[in-house]
């Protein structure tokens, strides 16, 4: 086959939702939340590393994460976990050939559950 000069593949296009359908939005959300959760996992392990600094270091750290900015960050993690986890269930079952023709309805249903759960956690976190 003849080789034609091509532009290198620009993977930012993965995250370009213009002119895309619901399935792509699901794909983009899953990828962003998956990568976000992985980043958080590392941060979380570093945070847990604070335990090694003894009780004072740890208490100081806990006081820090009680401030609203950290709480908002934590809420993002919770949101990502619900969106990624519930969407993951959809990907899992459709990938076994179940409800493949109903993926949009499944997505809307599961994301409604995710939104309700996120709102519930937001209220609990910011009112306690």
């Amino acid at each position: 086959m003849a080789k034609h000069p091509q532009k290198p593949i620009n993977l930012i296009k993965w995250f370009d939702p213009r002119n895309k359908s619901l399935g792509s939005w699901a794909f983009i959300l899953n990828r962003i939340t998956g990568l976000g959760l992985t980043l958080y996992l590392f941060l979380h392990l570093i945070m847990l590393g604070q335990l090694a600094g003894g009780p004072e270091a740890y208490d100081g750290f806990i006081a820090l994460v009680k401030n609203p900015i950290f709480l908002a960050g934590e809420l993002l993690v919770i949101a990502a976990a619900f969106i990624h986890g519930l969407n993951g269930i959809r990907i899992g079952i459709t990938s076994f050939g179940i409800a493949g023709g109903k993926q949009k309805q499944l997505f809307i249903g599961l994301m409604t559950v995710a939104i309700i759960a996120i709102i519930y956690f937001a209220i609990r976190m910011f009112t306690h």
């Binding site: 086959m1 003849a2 080789k3 034609h4 000069p5 091509q6 593949i9 993977l11 296009k13 993965w14 213009r18 002119n19 895309k20 359908s21 619901l22 399935g23 792509s24 699901a26 794909f27 899953n30 990907i91 459709t94 990938s95 076994f96 050939g97 493949g100 023709g101 993926q103 949009k104």
Partner: protein
């Protein structure tokens, strides 16, 4: 009664190693004409160096796939009315995820080879319904299979964008449809760049002009592959 719209075609141009650019053509069109009609008039009356592919003009040959205002379309059956408005713009680009030969034409050689190697049947037997409503294939009567090998699904797929090694929706759908999962086909589809590479964005099914529903077929193919593996594990033939 025919209407006349003034629209602008913005056409992707690229020859050889030249940098890509867009040429603008102001056109008077009937909105019920098809996007391809306008492109042909540009070629006929404005610029004979414009390269694009088509043949049948009635959604059978699969040659006229392009990206129209950001979405994959079979341009011979896409009415101008459905993609723009009076005074609007139609941006036409070559399909994504294929090497561009020139302007709007892309090289689909590898795709056709893959279709062949998974045993895609371009012609299939017609299924007839018996008195009890059961469908049976009638081997004497033949028809063209649904997939017209236009490549739109591959152009729209985010995983084909990731890597040209991915077989792509039409090819996996072709394997599922042919039903003959022999060892050669299995080696292709039951692999990293086969059925297991799909990430369920379902764009293929959105853009397919021919009711193939490739995403559903990929999922069904996975089901077949998993059940094969389970049977093999328990020694069932």
């Amino acid at each position: 009664m025919t209407q006349t719209w003034s629209i602008t075609y913005e056409i992707f141009r690229k020859k050889g190693s030249q940098a890509a650019h867009y040429d603008r053509f102001e056109m008077k069109v009937d909105p019920d004409e098809y996007v391809l009609d306008g492109i042909e008039r540009i070629w006929a009356f404005h610029d004979r160096s414009l390269v694009f592919s088509h043949a049948c003009h009635h959604s059978t040959c699969g040659a006229c796939g392009m990206v129209v205002n950001g979405v994959e379309k079979l341009t011979c059956i896409t009415p101008i009315r459905s993609v723009t408005k009076d005074g609007g713009v139609i941006r036409v680009e070559p399909m994504r995820n294929f090497p561009v030969i020139s302007d709007l034409s892309v090289d689909m050689t590898v795709f056709y080879q893959r279709m062949e190697s998974v045993g895609h049947q371009p012609v299939v037997s017609i299924a007839h319904e018996d008195s009890k409503g059961k469908f049976d294939p009638d081997d004497d009567l033949l028809r063209l299979s649904d997939c017209i090998e236009c490549g739109l699904c591959i152009s729209a797929c985010p995983i084909a964008l990731t890597t040209p090694a991915y077989l792509g929706p039409a090819v996996l759908a072709g394997a599922q449809q042919s039903g003959d999962l022999n060892l050669c086909v299995l080696e292709l589809v039951d692999s990293e760049n086969g059925a297991w590479r799909c990430h369920s964005a379902y764009e293929c099914t959105e853009v397919c002009p021919s009711h193939v529903d490739p995403a559903w077929r990929i999922m069904d193919l996975r089901k077949k592959l998993v059940s094969r593996r389970i049977k093999k594990f328990f020694g069932v033939k």
